[in-house]
């Protein structure tokens, strides 16, 4: 197994070819930031590049990832899901990482970098609370002060994650401006950062924002793909036909794509949150349903109105509920190297139930979007196809949403054996089990 420390930028990682010296991926990316933050961004870029060139830093990060976070994660041959899908599906089990998602890789990398820069305070934004929890965890582990900005609307929706952050010693600051959600939490974190940058690192939670964040977050998460590439070669002796991931800001997707971008035979699929359907306008499918503009420091696709005001996004998955997307994805979309498609709330929840029942793995609802998309890709590529899906996180955090969606919460205690299952089945609808080649009903 290649470890993080000796994972060279893979065969032709140079062919990822981005960003250029000024932080652009084609016409995307760059730095649309107040001048006051340009100096700090330059310093951050320098510190990051020097850290990545330093064997000691890389070894320390590698050790933290292995011994603390549980990396490398497994590549799991999901045979029952594969039967249901009609192609071979391999799951990259980021859900088994400490804190339950891929996010710990980025967070540990940036937190260790914070130490190296001699800073003692970390600020972060969070929507669902996953990045906030991961950041609070890393700050507890590395003894850093931690302040997390979170929209008031999200605080209400995600009270348990607020409690988790507070248990871990972080200060959670409610954001009451704008739409009081993730994008406003980012605004507030940036306002803090411009005042506090001497002793504070802004630990951005996804591969978006101003240069160097998109490249830095990609490189801290690219272990996902580097590992998966080696694992799939060891398991099957060949590269996969397709790699699938969900796309919010884009960190788990770029993390698994990066290693495969130079492999032309591997198709890359990013699945965005289609919410109620892109045609309804209530979605978070930034690339599929948005236009090019500037938000939070970079040029990329975003959801905006005719005047360039940011439009609120909608998704059942809080982690995908963001009106922007990282610039490298816009570039991969524009160059045609990766394909982006929307997956609706209903499709994602169906895949959520399918994976739970075929494999006993409850995915994060974010990751369920990738599973759902992979089912379509499987149908398109046929039974000989090998598809790697990034299972970016686990579903513990989503049980409240799932119970509500499947009508299990209220009815739960009064339902007899099998009845709850029946309610859930009705809600999840036809899971396509009948169409499964070679098996009529894989459910016990």
């Amino acid at each position: 197994m290649t470890t993080y420390a000796d994972a060279r930028p893979g065969p032709g990682a140079g062919a990822t070819a981005g960003p250029d010296a000024s932080g652009h991926f084609g016409r995307f990316g760059g730095r649309f930031m107040p001048e006051a933050l340009i100096g700090p961004l330059d310093e951050l870029e320098q510190a990051w590049r020097s850290a990545m060139a330093d064997e000691t830093f890389r070894a320390q990060l590698d050790q933290m990832l292995r011994e603390y976070a549980g990396v490398p994660s497994l590549l799991y041959d999901a045979t029952r899901l594969s039967q249901a899908a009609g192609a071979r599906i391999l799951l990259k089990r980021e859900d088994l990482n400490h804190t339950g998602a891929h996010k710990v890789r980025n967070v540990l990398g940036q937190a260790l970098l914070t130490k190296r820069m001699g800073k003692n305070r970390v600020i972060a934004e969070t929507g669902a609370g996953q990045h906030g929890v991961a950041t609070a965890t890393a700050c507890a582990y590395l003894d850093l002060d931690c302040v997390v900005y979170m929209g008031e609307v999200d605080i209400e929706r995600q009270s348990l994650n607020v409690a988790r952050m507070r248990v871990l010693g972080a200060q959670v600051v409610p954001v009451s401006t704008g739409s009081r959600t993730l994008k406003d939490a980012i605004n507030e974190a940036l306002r803090d950062w411009v005042t506090s940058v001497d002793d504070t690192h802004y630990l951005l939670g996804t591969a978006a924002g101003a240069h160097p964040f998109p490249a830095m977050v990609r490189d801290f998460t690219r272990g996902i793909g580097d590992e998966a590439r080696e694992q799939v070669l060891a398991l099957t002796g060949a590269l996969p036909d397709a790699v699938c991931a969900c796309v919010g800001g884009g960190s788990n997707a770029i993390g698994i794509f990066a290693a495969f971008v130079p492999d032309p035979s591997v198709q890359l699929y990013g699945f965005e949150a289609g919410g109620d359907g892109v045609e309804t306008g209530r979605h978070a499918a930034t690339i599929t349903g948005g236009d090019v503009g500037v938000l939070h420091g970079a040029r990329s696709f975003l959801l905006q109105d005719a005047d360039g005001q940011t439009v609120e996004s909608h998704s059942i998955s809080a982690g995908l509920d963001y009106p922007g997307v990282g610039p490298e994805h816009s570039w991969l979309a524009e160059t045609g190297r990766a394909t982006y498609r929307p997956v609706t709330d209903a499709e994602a929840m169906k895949a959520f139930a399918l994976l739970s029942r075929t494999e006993g793995i409850i995915p994060a609802i974010e990751s369920a979007h990738a599973i759902s998309g992979a089912l379509d890709v499987a149908a398109e590529l046929g039974p000989d196809a090998v598809i790697v899906v990034n299972l970016s996180g686990r579903g513990d955090k989503d049980m409240h949403t799932a119970a509500e969606y499947f009508d299990l919460a209220e009815a739960g205690p009064e339902l007899g054996p099998g009845e709850a299952r029946q309610v859930a089945d009705e809600r999840a609808g036809d899971l396509h089990f009948d169409e499964t080649p070679g098996e009529t009903d894989p459910l016990p």
Binding site: P34, E35, A36, D184, L190, D307, G308
Partner: protein, 273 residues
């Protein structure tokens, strides 16, 4: 009308210029036109019309509240241009202070053309650095508009020189590392930043404006001692927020403040409202 001519005039008079900010559409579109007219009548030399934006990362709570009000009231990009036109008709130069995305969405050249047609002087762009401003630099040249970029205490000397070279009208020195908002004391960073900026402009070169935090005539006088223009924003917005619903009282308060600040940039001015 360009800012260049106005600042050459105030410089010839041996004083700093007073630059006053208000978002278009706050408290309403017509209200913002009325308040800005009062500011001009009471002594503002240059007006900054703010274009309300959904994600104002450089603004503190006071201006955020004002721009949220403007957006909630339905203020559109075209309304900002209408406010510019009304201000320009009073005979002072009107700059638009705008985050970048609304301009990019409108079309950079189209915005420059329509701004110029409205009599606007140019743009102040808080989240657009010259490194990313190729389209805007060209459009400003085509339509003879001023372009005001920002320098900050964290800017290197090379960046200050590059930014100054890209500016026309004046260069905006953000005196503190922080967001907009009234401050009790003016920053000790400000004179240092202005001196570093002047090292790039040369003494008779591009004027240097200083902003962020000035609230009264005494502070304005302090800043006027080392800057060519004193930029005031949140201090104009705050009394209007306090007197919401009573436009006459709001305008009276803003007029008093403007007179005090105008005295300040002439070397006098009081320490409170």
């Amino acid at each position: 009308m360009s800012v260049r001519a106005t600042l050459a005039g105030t410089r010839a008079d041996g004083r700093a210029a007073l630059v006053g900010y208000l978002p278009a559409g706050f408290p309403t579109v017509e209200g913002s036109i009325a308040v800005l007219a009062a500011m001009v009548a009471a002594g503002v030399d240059v007006v900054e019309v703010g274009l309300p934006y959904s994600d104002p990362v450089m603004d503190g709570p006071t201006i955020q509240r004002a721009t949220e009000t403007a957006l909630a009231g339905g203020t559109r990009t075209a309304d900002t241009l209408r406010v510019v036109e009304a201000v320009a008709a009073t005979g002072v130069p009107a700059l638009v202070m705008t985050y970048w995305n609304p301009v990019e969405r409108y079309g950079v050249d189209r915005f420059a053309r329509d701004l110029s047609a409205a009599g606007g002087a140019g743009l102040i762009t808080p989240d657009l650095i010259p490194d990313e401003a190729g389209d805007w630099m060209a459009a400003a040249d085509r339509h003879d508009l001023d372009r005001v970029f920002l320098v900050a205490p964290s800017s290197t000397q090379e960046r200050i020189a590059m930014t100054v070279a890209a500016c026309r009208g004046f260069v905006y020195a953000t005196a503190v590392m922080g967001v907009t908002g009234a401050r009790e004391a003016t920053s000790t960073d400000a004179p240092v930043l202005v001196a570093r900026t002047r090292a790039a402009t040369g003494t008779a070169g591009l004027p240097v404006g200083v902003g962020l935090g000035v609230t009264n005539g005494a502070q304005a006088a302090e800043v006027a001692a080392f800057a060519d223009a004193v930029i005031v924003g949140s201090a104009f917005v705050a009394p209007l927020l306090e007197r919401r619903g009573d436009q006459a009282a709001g305008i009276a308060a803003v007029t008093r403040l403007t007179r005090d600040l105008a005295a300040g940039v002439r070397g006098a001015g009081s320490a409170g409202r």
